[in-house]
């Protein structure tokens, strides 16, 4: 917390959350024409610095007395408490939902086992089981979004994280599109820096993006993963030769529950964006209908 007459902050000092906050007192003397001080007013500016690739932005509130500062603080504490209650509620809800889902799925499978192979109802049960799996996926993703998850940052080799998940994506590609010939090409920048990230969360990011790219392609295509460095940022591009996104839909892709896929939950990209922003990074998408899409991630090296 910076206090005092002036606010001077070195860019390097903005890493810790407490360093980004400031509270500054302004004393304003109201003088009469003769120069006598008639009234002394005290004001406060309270806010925080936010660092992104464009520079530093400052969010602040102007407060004309301390009561309001305390009021502001109380509101903030309350909001934080409410978020943690909601998060706990989400954990409980997931637990409560998975039990009935387990019973429904299990009994459906038992009924399926008892039916003859020619029985049409076997297909009905298949649909029931698939729909339960979809519900489960939805529950998982809502849970991921609502959970206030601590970021366990350590300096990681992004290339290694990508290498680790590519086999999973190839497997996914083989399973979901049996005839498809989809190539995943890596164009890694050899001097790419280590970046402080939560490894597990970052795996989720690449898994969602690459699997989306696979789903965007019909029978054959290429996914090119490029890494490069620009200033203090590491850049990761995931490019596909898939169906592309309509220009009018481009702004909606990161919105929750927006999906064009029959079996999608519409939360995958929303989760990706949230993880990247929690790492002080950014993500954007460019796309040409019928040609493909490029997702570009920027992550600060610090």
């Amino acid at each position: 917390m910076f206090k005092g007459e002036g606010i001077r902050v070195k860019k390097d000092n903005l890493n810790k959350e407490e360093d980004r906050m400031f509270c500054h007192k302004i004393v304003l003397d109201v003088q009469s024409e003769t120069g006598e001080i008639e009234q002394t007013n005290e004001y406060y500016i309270e806010g925080f610095f936010h660092q992104n690739q464009k520079g530093v932005t400052i969010n602040f509130v102007f407060i004309d007395n301390l009561t309001e500062i305390n009021h502001f603080k109380e509101k903030f504490t309350l909001a934080k408490k409410q978020i943690s209650i909601l998060s706990e509620l989400a954990v409980q809800a997931v637990h409560e939902i998975r039990n009935p889902l387990s019973s429904i799925k299990g009994f459906a499978q038992l009924i399926q086992e008892s039916l003859d192979d020619e029985d049409d109802r076997k297909e009905y049960i298949n649909i029931i089981v698939k729909e339960i799996e979809r519900l489960n996926k939805l529950v998982k993703e809502v849970f991921n979004l609502t959970r206030v998850k601590e970021i366990k940052e350590s300096c990681e080799d992004i290339h290694k994280i990508i290498e680790d998940i590519v086999p999973l994506c190839n497997m996914y590609s083989k399973m979901s599109k049996k005839q498809a010939k989809i190539k995943i090409i890596k164009k890694f920048y050899s001097d790419f820096p280590l970046i402080p990230v939560d490894k597990e969360q970052m795996k989720q990011v690449f898994l969602n993006l690459i699997n989306n790219a696979i789903e965007a392609m019909e029978n054959k295509g290429e996914i090119v993963i490029t890494t490069e460095k620009a200033g203090d940022c590491g850049i990761i591009k995931i490019e596909d030769t898939g169906c592309g996104i309509d220009e009018k839909d481009l702004s909606k892709v990161f919105t929750p529950f927006y999906t064009t896929k029959e079996e999608g939950t519409g939360l995958g990209l929303c989760i990706v964006k949230r993880i990247i922003e929690n790492h002080n990074g950014s993500i954007h998408v460019e796309s040409t209908k019928g040609k493909g899409s490029v997702f570009t991630i920027r992550l600060p090296v610090r």
Binding site: V91, V94, H95, R98, N99, P100, L101, S102, S103, I104, K105, G106, F107, Q109, L110, I132, E133, N136, K140, F143, R147
Partner: protein, 129 residues
């Protein structure tokens, strides 16, 4: 039960879950197999049934309504050191799983599980004994 399948030395499975649906499901899954299934709805019942039946494998929900499934597992294990276990867990409870540490004594299965996957897991545990 088919009397032909009944062997002198049957493998016994104890299911511990506070949800009736899950208990009934697991009973149905294993009732016509070579295993004998016993059910318990909580920690106390699990200890009672186990003392009487001496199960070889316990399938326990990590979150029981009255107490922690891990405590139930540990207590059972104290009484029956050879007991194997499958812990039923859910996505988001990885921290609990991590807290248990690596151990050969148990496996995990995520709810909502696939009954074929569960059956295969149980068979493998008994085959390896």
């Amino acid at each position: 039960m088919d009397p032909m399948k009944k062997q002198n030395k049957e493998n016994k499975i104890l299911v511990v879950d506070d949800q009736r649906g899950i208990r009934t499901l697991l009973f149905e899954v294993f009732k016509n197999t070579q295993y004998k299934v016993f059910l318990a709805k909580d920690h106390q019942e699990a200890m009672q049934v186990a003392s009487k039946e001496k199960p070889d494998l316990a399938i326990i929900d990590i979150r029981l309504s009255s107490e922690n499934g891990i405590a139930t597992f540990k207590n059972l294990k104290k009484k029956f050191p050879d007991l194997k276990a499958i812990m039923m867990t859910a996505y988001g409870e990885e921290d609990v799983v991590e807290g248990m540490g690596k151990n050969e004594a148990y496996n995990f299965i995520f709810k909502p599980f696939d009954i074929l996957e569960l059956k295969a897991m149980v068979e493998k545990i008994f085959d390896n004994r």
